[in-house]
């Protein structure tokens, strides 16, 4: 029975169906977002400290960065 492969070890190739150009007047590369936009569409790879819950830590980040909302990707609780 084939063993399940971790998502980060899954090899993917790109299959090209068609080619086209992109218009530079609309949208932009994520790296070229304005600072405010970069934050608003950003993710922080945070090393959570022991003690507070994941929710509390996310709330602290929200307060530090003065954002309206934050989320977190998977609870790390005792």
């Amino acid at each position: 029975m084939p063993r399940s492969v971790a998502p980060w070890k899954t090899e993917r190739r790109v299959l090209v169906k068609a080619e086209d150009k992109t218009d530079p007047s609309f949208g932009h590369n994520p790296e070229e977002r304005s600072a405010e936009e970069y934050l608003r569409y950003g993710v922080i790879n945070l090393d959570k400290p022991a003690g507070p819950s994941s929710h509390e830590v996310a709330a602290w980040v929200k307060r530090i960065l003065k954002l309206e909302s934050v989320g977190h990707g998977g609870t790390l609780e005792a």
């Binding site: 029975m1 063993r3 399940s4 492969v5 971790a6 998502p7 980060w8 070890k9 899954t10 993917r12 190739r13 790109v14 299959l15 090209v16 169906k17 068609a18 080619e19 086209d20 992109t22 218009d23 609309f26 949208g27 932009h28 590369n29 994520p30 790296e31 977002r33 304005s34 600072a35 970069y38 934050l39 608003r40 569409y41 950003g42 993710v43 922080i44 790879n45 945070l46 090393d47 959570k48 400290p49 022991a50 994941s54 830590v57 996310a58 602290w60 980040v61 530090i64 960065l65 954002l67 309206e68 909302s69 934050v70 989320g71 977190h72 990707g73 998977g74 790390l76 609780e77 005792a78």
Partner: protein, 257 residues
């Protein structure tokens, strides 16, 4: 418990769903309740690789039904007396505490989870993580210097959270329709990654590398490549604001031309 916790900021919170399915890795200290030989421990750990059954604990906020979870790898690292150090790669929603308990049952000695540290959450890994102090410090530096490169010290674009989700890249003319929730149809597709299967989550991207939406594939990569028309993926979660790209889809003629 410590370790990698991806924090999605403001509008990026919409990608959280993709992270839940991208897998996790932990390093764990399991405390045995009796003395067991290393060879026996390694053997039993090996038996827990691949698919296991778990029922979420009382304190979890999910439905408490028996469900399967994949253990991608379970590597013995060290033993010190009754403490066993191991690394485990697993599907999201796997309870390592329960895994330790079950390993203890099979070993006969009993065991519990002593300490847990998450070393990976989807594409986010421990060596690249920052601590709260860094966040506060660099944010303050940015406010003083107003240099966007300072932000990049501790914030990643939300596209990074989608690094492990199979991608479909579409034409500019197809973008706005998807931003309005329309399903992605074949003519709009330029390229796609292998490994897509019907029902799986896919990430729809623009040629500029912007995440447009999270979708659910209607069929597999090989079929999508051959299709001339028809739905390729339903749009489940729009990530890009409407109007970022111009409307091209209500002009009557060819949809997603």
């Amino acid at each position: 418990m410590t370790g990698v916790l991806p924090i999605t900021l403001a509008d990026a919170t919409k990608v959280v769903q993709a992270l839940l399915y991208s897998g996790k890795e932990y390093v764990c200290v399991m405390k045995l309740h009796g003395d067991v030989e290393v060879e026996q421990i390694k053997k039993v750990l090996g038996e827990f690789e691949d698919v296991i059954y778990q029922r979420p604990p009382l304190r979890a906020s999910v439905k408490r039904q028996l469900r399967t979870r994949r253990i991608y790898y379970l590597d013995f690292l060290e033993k010190d007396g009754r403490n066993v150090l191991f690394r485990v790669g697993c599907e999201g929603g796997t309870y390592i505490r329960k895994l330790c308990y079950d390993v203890g049952e099979v070993l006969g000695s009993g065991a519990h989870m002593q300490e847990l540290r998450r070393t990976r959450a989807g594409p986010f890994v421990e060596p690249e993580s920052v601590i709260l102090h860094d966040v506060a410090y660099w944010f303050m530096q940015w406010q003083e210097r107003k240099d966007a490169n300072v932000l990049k010290r501790f914030v990643q674009p939300m596209e990074q959270a989608l690094a492990l989700v199979p991608k479909i890249i579409i034409r500019d003319s197809a973008v706005d329709a998807v931003c309005h929730g329309a399903s992605l149809t074949a003519p709009g597709v330029l390229s796609l990654e292998t490994g897509i299967k019907a029902g799986l989550v896919v990430a729809v991207f623009s040629l500029k590398g912007e995440a447009i939406a999270l979708g659910k594939a209607a069929t597999a990569s090989e079929q999508i490549l051959q299709m001339e028309h028809g739905i390729v993926a339903s749009t489940e979660r729009v990530l890009m604001p409407r109007g970022t790209y111009p409307k091209r889809w209500k002009t009557g003629g060819n949809k997603n031309e």
